[in-house]
């Protein structure tokens, strides 16, 4: 069996698992993918050897640090077989991390499956716009690519061109507030549900642009926010941002849902708050609690010895994502998390070692990482 055949089989098994087939367990699949990656990735083999990992327990699959994507190619296949290439933001050296995908179907199916469950509050077509710059071609941002997928899939009218200024509401002149107002009117007129996809800093930019003015969205509209601020704008505490956005749009706070994703992952986590959504019906989540899809597990680990911490204790997130068949099934992040009822509570990024004296801190050197 060739590596690609094995990979294809694993992809198919993961997609079946995502569709509800439980003939193979999460643990079986995760460990089989990890063993496959150890065989084909010298880097992962070294990491396993260094950590003396036997790959017999999901909780002990060594996580590949997200920094590794910036320094080396984290892929089992050669670049000639890449079908999607997503890049992280840059660093001091200009180096960007790359997550290369050989099989796109798994990414698409997994993202859509959980996106639909988390974001769609009803069966009607959704009109989706993004407070984001126009998606590049080919797409290099995993977030932008996911937004484009949602625009097409949630509209429920087959394929259409999404690369239009009416859909992507940030351009050289800044935030297109009038464009958002037009989208709101159009959704209402067509009796579609409006879904606004945005980064946190774009929402802060929108609030600044509105300067206290309201921009009412149609009833039932949903706002998906993601990501941090990365120094691009003033920072607002998440709860305050949610309240301010809800007030500006004239919607209820549960209609604002946070997503957690990284370029290095295939899958995403969401808050289970959107009224009427499948995820909210199933998990009844609270704001700040991120629900994992069944094919992804967050393992909070001790920041020093990287061993799993007892339940409900704070650790840093090691994320086991079955979608990462051809890259790294376990990713070690620096995000502080705690397992709670209904999912994972995100507590912010672990502060790098604060610089003592004038020694350059890693945080100052590495400006990139997250999507």
């Amino acid at each position: 069996m060739t590596p690609n055949t094995r990979s294809d089989d694993l992809h198919a098994a993961v997609r079946r698992f995502a569709a509800g087939d439980r003939t193979r367990s999460f643990a079986d699949l995760a460990l089989e993918i990890a063993v496959f990656q150890r065989e084909l990735s010298p880097g992962f083999a070294r990491l396993c050897a260094g950590r003396r990992a036997s790959l017999t327990s999901v909780d002990h699959i060594p996580g590949v640090p997200s920094d590794a994507f910036r320094l080396a190619r984290v892929a089992l296949h050669p670049p000639t077989e890449d079908r999607l290439r997503f890049y992280t933001s840059g660093t001091t050296s200009g180096a960007r991390g790359l997550h290369a995908m050989r099989v796109t179907e798994t990414y698409h199916e997994l993202a859509l499956h959980f996106g639909r469950a988390a974001l769609l509050s009803n069966q009607r077509p959704h009109h989706v716009v993004a407070l984001a710059p126009l998606l590049d071609e080919p797409p290099t941002s995993s977030l932008g690519h996911m937004m484009a997928m949602f625009m097409v899939d949630f509209a429920k009218r087959g394929a259409f061109e999404v690369r239009t200024p009416e859909r992507w509401l940030i351009d050289d002149r800044g935030l297109n507030v009038a464009g958002l107002e037009r989208a709101a009117a159009q959704a209402a007129q067509r009796d579609e549900t409006l879904l606004v996809l945005a980064t946190s800093f774009a929402l802060v930019g929108l609030l600044d642009a509105l300067a206290g003015r309201a921009l009412p969205l149609p009833a039932g509209a949903v706002v998906m926010q993601t990501g941090g601020f990365k120094g691009k704008t003033r920072e607002i505490e998440p709860g305050e941002l949610r309240t301010s956005v809800a007030q500006a749009f004239g919607i209820e706070e549960p209609q604002i849902v946070s997503e957690y994703g990284m370029t290095e992952l295939t899958s995403q986590l969401y808050e289970a708050t959107v009224p009427g959504s499948a995820l909210a019906r199933e998990r009844q989540g609270a704001p700040g609690v991120y629900a994992e899809p069944p094919w992804l597990r967050v393992v909070p680990v001790d920041p020093v010895n990287l061993e799993p911490v007892p339940n409900e204790e704070v650790g840093i997130a090691r994320i086991v994502d079955l979608g990462n068949v051809d890259s790294a099934v376990a990713i070690q992040t620096q995000d502080r998390v705690r397992r709670v009822e209904g999912g994972i509570m995100l507590l912010g990024r672990a502060a790098g070692a604060p610089p003592r004296g004038c020694s350059l801190a890693i945080e100052e050197f590495m400006a990139g990482g997250a999507r």
Binding site: G43, R51, A68, L71, A72, Q334, P355, G357, L360
Partner: protein
């Protein structure tokens, strides 16, 4: 500068130099007290504090260096100094520069490491003032040392007419170029291990990356040998206390290096070898990354604003090229990174 003014400035330095001299010797009461207090405040081991005082405290600077320090320091009505933590010997040079600038010197020590400034003042009473907050006025100068974030914060709060000499974050590199005999190489690595060990790499002069213009197999051998040197030195000079965030950074660095290259245990720290051209900046705590490159200057160019120190071993002509390419970094020999000439700020990036 007139001879009279030069002599006046020189005279202001003498009590401070004498105070530092009396701290260097661990057999004296002041030397013993300094060690006791610095162990508690710095987080370094007892041996680490003693090693730093013995190797890095400028107790007998050359008169030519002192003259250079005086002549390169601009005059100020009042000289203010904001000290950083941990590289405690830096307080001596920082205060000396301020004394060269003015007869009125006000020093705000780091809250985490106030000891060295107090110890220096105790041995040179009245030569400068220790203050809780700096309050400069127009015509004054401020010499500030610390993280870039601290420098940014200070820059926006100073009144108009106050000159700021900001010395922010940085790091050092070592460059091994050209052929060396086994004996030379062994001596170089012994010296470099000392550069890495001093202050547990918490200073901006500490080497964090070693660039080698040599075949990969040679670089691997070098990394292994350096790890052995560091482990040996750790037996004599144990690493100090690290915080959880520092230890966490080390775990992340080790695993990243493991995935992207090779890792050699070096006592409690690590020497890592890159298999790609990407930079991996190790966290402090006696960790160093070895990078193979055919063109050292090109590799260093993107990091020029961050480089404060560069140890070089190789042909004099190549050293000169490096010096020209890195005007803000002090280019020196292996083993000399942590004790640059006493001729002005260790950080020359603003020059």
């Amino acid at each position: 500068m007139s001879d009279f003014e030069f002599e006046a400035r020189r005279a202001r330095l003498e009590p401070l130099l004498e105070s530092a001299r009396s701290l260097g010797d661990g057999a004296t009461e002041r030397g013993r007290l300094a060690r006791e207090r610095l162990i508690a405040s710095s987080g370094l081991s007892a041996q680490g504090v003693d090693f730093a005082l013995q190797r890095c405290l400028e107790i007998a600077p050359d008169e030519r260096e002192i003259a250079a320090l005086i002549r390169s320091t601009p005059q100020a009505q009042v000289a203010h100094v904001l000290l950083s933590a941990n590289v405690f010997v830096a307080a001596h040079r920082a205060i000396a520069i301020a004394l060269a600038a003015s007869g009125q010197v006000r020093v705000r020590a780091s809250r985490r490491e106030p000891e060295m400034a107090e110890l220096l003042l105790a041995g040179a009473p009245g030569s400068f003032q220790l203050v809780k907050e700096l309050s400069p006025h127009s015509g004054d100068r401020v010499w500030a040392y610390g993280s870039d974030q601290t420098m940014d914060e200070i820059a926006v709060t100073l009144p108009a007419g106050v000159a700021l000499h900001a010395h922010g974050s940085g790091f050092g590199v070592a460059v091994l170029d050209g052929p060396h005999s086994d004996r030379e190489l062994s001596e170089l690595l012994t010296a470099l291990a000392e550069d890495i060990t001093l202050f547990d790499q918490r200073g901006c002069l500490s080497p964090r990356v070693i660039l080698v213009n040599a075949p990969p197999a040679f670089a691997a051998e070098l990394a292994r040998e350096l790890a052995r040197e560091l482990a040996e030195l750790e037996q004599r000079i144990p690493r100090g206390q690290l915080t959880v965030p520092e230890l966490s950074e080390i775990s992340k660095y080790r695993d990243t290096a493991q995935f992207t290259g090779e890792v050699f245990e070096a006592g409690l720290g690590f020497v890592t070898l890159g298999q790609t051209s990407g930079w991996l900046l190790p966290p402090s705590g006696r960790n160093v990354h070895v990078l193979v490159t055919p063109d050292v200057i090109e590799t260093l160019t993107p990091y020029r604003p961050l480089l404060t120190s560069c140890a070089f071993a190789g042909a004099p002509a190549r050293r000169e090229q490096l010096r020209r390419a890195l005007p803000g970094a002090r280019v020196c020999a292996f083993g000399e990174m942590q004790r640059p000439p006493f001729d002005g700020p260790v950080d020359r990036r603003e020059l």
